[in-house]
Amino acid sequence: MAWLLAVAVALLWTQSAHAHIEHGQAAGFASGFVHPWSGWDHIAAMVAVGIWGAQLGAPAIWLLPVVFPMVMAMGGFMGLIHLEFPGGSKTIEIGIALSALLLGAMVCGDIHSKKPGFLIFAAVLVGLFGLFHGHAHGTELPPGQSGLLYSIGFVIATGCLHGCGIALGVIHRWPIGRVALRGVGAIIALGGVYFLWEAISGGGEAPKTSVAAVYLSIGLSLL
């Protein structure tokens, strides 16, 4: 009787199904979403794109955040098909650092112009740096995770960072806000100096003058 009961329980037991179990699907989205937030160099550059767009006003305010994800995806695509920049990863690191430095400088200087050529210059500059960011970030999918969900998370996070920059740029309409934004630009540019030093020295310790300059700029902007 016990034997029959055991067999009946065994037959009624929920069986294991080994095929088509998809592990890590949701984790793919999380990995992609977290990636752009994982480095200050990326955060600084992407927020700077949003702020600069807000300073420039229409149509740059929407053109730059539209251009950046598309060109960044192009950089990611290059990385995925193993199309490397000359100089390899060092070139990418220098490009990312330069993006923070130059975009920060643009925000700091509140550089804008009504000439149509300037809009093209801004789009090309932002797009060029997008290639480096995409190449560095778009290719690091953990094993077993969905490429589609990773890409969705990655692009949405980048858009959120731009949104943060644009939201911050709203204060540009007030005189004190314009000064504050230029201070933020100075911080980003000096951060770019620090990242550039790290990229050139291969991760070595940054010079004390560079670190001091960053702290000084933070202090000045707070004042």
């Binding site: 294991s16 229409a58 598309m70 995806a73 695509f77 193993h82 999918l141 490429g147 589609l148």
Partner: protein, 215 residues
């Protein structure tokens, strides 16, 4: 004298071992799996709805064509609302018969083309939008039909009807919402969404060419 007393014990242990082994064997037999079709327990129509809603490679292009149609106005919106589900249904029926094997680059191309069209805000005539909707519906429906037939003999037209219902509702909601948008910044937000879809498509193409898990 020891052997007669040991033998029943040995037999008992042996029987117990065989029984436990049989139970373990039964427990370890994997059950049949209905591949790639969400089983909601609510019937085939809801299974189709669940399948579509959870298939982002189908969902995002439908959202993109709805955004495109909505940006172009009510007439392209109406064309898309009726023609996309019909083309999807026709493609689905055809796909059920022919079982398409490879689907990889099609989704990424759909993402990129539709995303770029939305982001660039091209002033396409209603007829062109309708043609794009038919093409999208026929191709993705064909792939959907193949996926349904691969899921098992039970899957069929009712699942496809569930998919059509959810496509109709989705296009109606998204396109009418975009038509209703009047402020500049809201239409810019739609274009930004288009650029995101194009970017996702390009990355998806890269994952596929790299040989990883694109979907």
């Amino acid at each position: 004298m020891m052997i007669p007393t040991m033998r029943p014990q040995l037999q008992h242990h042996l029987r117990t071992f065989v029984r436990l082994f049989a139970i373990a064997l039964l427990l370890s037999i994997p059950s049949s799996v209905h591949a790639h079709l969400v089983t909601t327990g609510l019937g085939p129509v809801y299974d189709g709805i669940g399948h579509f809603v959870l298939s982002l490679d189908d969902l995002l292009p439908v959202i993109a064509i709805s955004l495109l149609a909505g940006m172009r106005g009510p007439r392209p919106g109406r064309f898309t609302l009726f023609l996309l589900p019909l083309a999807w249904f026709a493609g689905g029926l055809f796909g059920m018969q022919s079982h398409p094997a490879h689907t990889f680059p099609i989704q990424s191309i759909s993402f990129m083309v539709l995303g770029v069209l939305v982001a660039s805000n091209l002033r396409l005539p209603a007829e062109i939008v309708a043609a794009i909707a038919i093409l999208l519906g026929a191709i993705h429906g064909y792939l959907n039909g193949g996926a349904l037939s691969a899921a098992g003999p039970a899957a069929g037209t009712l699942e496809l009807l569930g998919i059509l219902a959810v496509i109709f509702v989705l296009v109606a909601l998204v396109a009418s919402f975009v038509i209703w948008l009047r402020w500049d910044w809201t239409r810019i937000a739609v274009r930004v969404a288009g650029s995101w879809i194009a970017a996702i498509g390009l990355l998806l193409l890269g994952w596929g060419l790299r040989g990883g898990n694109p979907l």
